[in-house]
Symmetry: C2
Amino acid sequence: MRRNAPKSVVKRLPVYLRILDNLIRRDVEIISSRALSEETGFTAEQIRKDLAYFGAFGTRGTGYNTGYLREKLLKIIGLDKQTNLVVIGAGHLGKALTRYNISKNPYVKVVGIFDNSPEEIGTDIGGIIIRPMSDLEEVIKNHNVRVAMITVPADAAQDVVSGLADSGITAILNFAPTKLKVPENVYVHNADLTIELQSLIYYAMEDEKQH
Amino acid sequence: MRRNAPKSVVKRLPVYLRILDNLIRRDVEIISSRALSEETGFTAEQIRKDLAYFGAFGTRGTGYNTGYLREKLLKIIGLDKQTNLVVIGAGHLGKALTRYNISKNPYVKVVGIFDNSPEEIGTDIGGIIIRPMSDLEEVIKNHNVRVAMITVPADAAQDVVSGLADSGITAILNFAPTKLKVPENVYVHNADLTIELQSLIYYAMEDEKQH
DNA sequence: CATTGTGAACGGATTCACAGCC
DNA sequence: GGCTGTGAATCCGTTCACAATG
């Protein structure tokens, strides 16, 4: 199996996985790239190319077996074993993400949520207790955590992140509105909601501006 | 001023805006594309191209005036007038987004949050009262709302969205894990956090897989 | 003379078109 | 016959290199 797939491909893999989960729940056993195209909005050629990047998973003349393809995708993405993660920052967003992942996602598990504000520490978020930042390193090491979600304020984010790589974190989903400096081998994906919203507003205004 | 900018450019405009806000707060009046490059992580050439797409805002030999460029960007993105938006779905994420935008964002305003569950209706979220879905259309029309954030469960999302275009919504930030069918003139940006997280996990696992 | 603005070259991703296979 | 898998062609975005200019 190849690694180092283009980012554009990796972004789409979880979409395929989601569709397959739905199909399997509805007892659909075979799906064509054309049908997948309708479900996803990506072109059929693109879907075939994406999958072919990792191997030949389909049957010519027939399509893809949903169960088999799902297994393959889980393995490719790295969801075949449970992924532990930590949420850093227990504001409203951090709490929401913690609950969100606990309830909705069978592949990943939040093993800790951290904050420094004394009145938050000890609070139970759907079975997970908010702990002080000083416990962070220990939890990361004990649970072999690779993934962190950052929801602290922008001015605290860099400090929080600086120690993470040494503890063993290799990927960060960053909700803080700031660019993080991290070592080469740590992957950061920015998910600053203000930025998403503002670029959306550009498109919302497009109609009006033209007249 | 040109419209129909490439998506790749539009995605970066709010990043420039955020940096400029920070610079202005620190009384920096001039910034070069090279310095912006360091703050953003984009190349200096790319930044110049992005800005040049909408006009010539800099001064050769000097750089960009932060206040002037900020004004221009606000106008380009469409943030020169306040943007009203609605949050549809008052689960944990919907509530968090409502509070988040209220507190953090001077350019946009949440004018309504909606849910159908009777025990949520009437709850105050940072000054905004959760209202029933049946009030949605009225609020959208009264406040001239163009932008909606969708945080309802996947199986409810399409129903919720189907009426929105008629009410005047032209852009949707969709947190529901499903593809929305919308009319041509409505722009949808998917922000399914499960998908973001799963593609992140691909990168988190990269190291391990290689050995 | 430093820095912007931009045509030209490059590279990566998507689409096309069809060969390969069940 | 129908659908996958894939080289070739195309499109789009980024980088390069430099001309323009305050």
